[in-house]
Amino acid sequence: MFINFFYNLKANGVPVSLHEWLTLHQALALNLNDCSLTQFYYMSRAILVKNEIHFDRFDIAFLDTFKDIETTDEMLEKILEGLKKVKELKLTEEEKRQIEELDLDQVLKNFEEQLREGHYKNHVGGNKAIGTGGRSTQGAWGYNPAGIRIGQGESRHRRAVQIAEKRSFRNYSNNITLDTRQMRVALSHLRSLLPIAPEEKLDLENTIDATCKNAGELEFIWQNKEKKASKVMLLMDVGGSMTPYSSLVELLFSAASSQINRFKHYYFHNCIYQDLWTDIERRESISTQEMLRNEDDDFKVIIVGDAEMAPSELTWRNGAIDYWYHNDTPGIVWLQRIRDKFKDSVWLNPLPSRSWDFIHTARLIRDVFPMFELTLEGLDDAVRHLMKSAGRVYF
């Protein structure tokens, strides 16, 4: 049994359910993997994993469970040295039918016996023993649907572990920080904030009115029931400690702006004060107060920043990092105003969450905004939080 595979998957954070596990066993009972570990790998992945971001963890769990698997491979390799490829066998229908009647257990037993008796050496053709091109149930390039295929160019069993070892889906894994490659996926998470198309509905009241006016002749009035679209506002920290992340965040923003119609974005440096910049070089600005006054409160606000600054920048008057910039209201007050104005707001932090507790200002900001990591998982949680519309308790 390989029940430990199930627990290994669970331990690696792949969400597997018993339902899927049983389906896998159903598939195994039907021998859909054709006794091959490689096919078992693909089959179990198809049945157990439902999102490509978990493929990498699946690979890890698979490696963990099956890396030391002792298939008869080692032995087989020795056998295969003696096997040589011969021309494919031509069989009559009658013979094919006979062969198809063989059952797998019998074949396996036969195989083991043959192995023990050492019949396999340099055997070509024939009906019983292992060889190539024969009608026996073992060996490559032969004809037998119930046969054990050993070695067709390479060992099939070893391959599954090698595929898992390659971990080609590492980039899809959802707990590494977003890179540009994952932009699209990240955006797809933002898509759930997109407006929903209008819906056609029969306007009953007006239909009755129109029908009456029409002397009983039916007149249908349709109305477009437009569902409320989400509006997104992105506020982004640029410069200073955010420089390493700037290209990433800028990409997220420009891509998001092309995806979402009602989309606004502003820039700030370290903390938000009375001005918000509309360009990344921070030359053009608008007044934060005006923005708060003019915008609707149903914007979903996403703030991206590392929340790492001197505590004075957040809590002091004139605490802004640019010494020529005077703010008579501390940054934290501005943050609170933004939080109070908009129903839903979140803070995305490119730093890993384990470091947040050690940054004083991050702790302070977390008191104001719910903070999420700028990873796929974090973004996902953040979007879910925004959609719940439970961001703020009304005072």
């Binding site: 389906t23 859909l32 049945i47 439902k50 493929f55 996926v185 759930s192 039916l218 990409l251 092309s258």
Partner: protein, 285 residues
């Protein structure tokens, strides 16, 4: 027993072929995800063709409701007909139209049902279909009828992962992610479309194509169908491999956004300076 081997026009990896067969044998819907242009929809066509079965396509739009796939009760038509009495309005049956799912269930032969781009619909859409896909039957209360599948249809579902699909729905599916084909597989795919394409031209095209795809900041990466279009354009224009090597003719067939065009033409490693030695990234900032 249905065993899908693939068709001549559709190149598929052995892994995908096996998974198609697993899903057919288990009688579970096959959920296919992957980059646009990796042939998700074509797979269903290929399965239908390979197994010699009818294909029913249900295209999902943002306004599609799960019920529409089962049946539509045209109450407005009935109301309209009731005025003249030339039709028997009490026979509700004639106002019930089966949707795509209903058609697939009631078909006499086993069919292949393609539910295309399921993620386009409302988030609750897949959940509303759970029972129907599980039991392969549904009940029409208006006529007190139960439509039950005579043969379980082979269900293929495609998704562009624009929205997350709900877990209970996923649990019932078999899942496969089609990776973007590598150069060898891509060569095979192009060969299917252009069997007698000049080898040199093909090689140059693929080289350029994968080079373009390496640009991380592209808004829309060129996909297989764009490559095919591009080659078509090159053939129609009678462009020689030499020209493809030195410049990028008909770039518009590959890139569909102005920003992407600018990015590629203005890139420091643009095609004029492009040769194999400059590929080691020198743009260190």
């Amino acid at each position: 027993m249905n065993y899908f081997k693939g068709t001549d026009e559709y190149v598929l990896s052995p892994a995908l072929r096996d998974i198609v067969n697993v899903s057919i044998a288990l009688g579970r819907p096959l959920l296919i995800k992957g980059e646009p242009g990796t042939g998700k929809t074509l797979l269903a066509h290929s399965i239908a063709k390979g197994l010699g079965k009818e294909l029913i396509i249900w295209n999902i739009k943002s306004t599609t409701k799960a019920r529409e796939g089962l049946y539509v009760y045209d109450t407005v038509q009935r109301l309209n007909d009731s005025r003249f009495g030339d039709k028997d309005v009490s026979n509700i049956k004639q106002y019930i139209q089966l949707g795509k799912l209903g058609l697939a269930f009631s078909s006499k032969e086993q069919v292949v049902l393609l539910i295309d781009e399921i993620d386009k619909a409302d988030i609750e859409f897949p959940n509303d279909l759970l029972n129907e896909l599980d039991e392969m039957s549904f009940y029409i209360p208006e006529t007190a009828e139960t439509i039950k599948a005579i043969h379980r249809p082979i269900v293929i579902i495609t998704s562009n992962s624009e929205k997350e699909l709900p877990d209970p729905f996923l649990r019932r599916c078999v899942f496969h992610y089609i990776e973007f084909p590598d150069e060898n597989l891509m060569e095979e795919i192009v060969r299917v479309h252009y069997p007698d394409l000049d080898k040199k031209l093909l090689r140059e095209c693929l080289k350029k194509f994968y080079w373009l795809r390496e640009f991380d900041q592209l808004r829309k990466k060129p996909s297989t169908s764009e490559l095919i279009d591009w080659i078509q354009a090159l053939l129609a224009g009678g462009i020689s491999p030499k020209i493809v090597e030195s410049e990028l003719p008909f770039l518009g067939a590959l890139l569909k956004k102005k920003e992407d065009m600018d990015l590629v033409t203005n890139s420091p490693k643009n095609h004029y300076g492009y040769n194999s030695s400059s590929r080691t990234s020198r743009n260190v900032y």
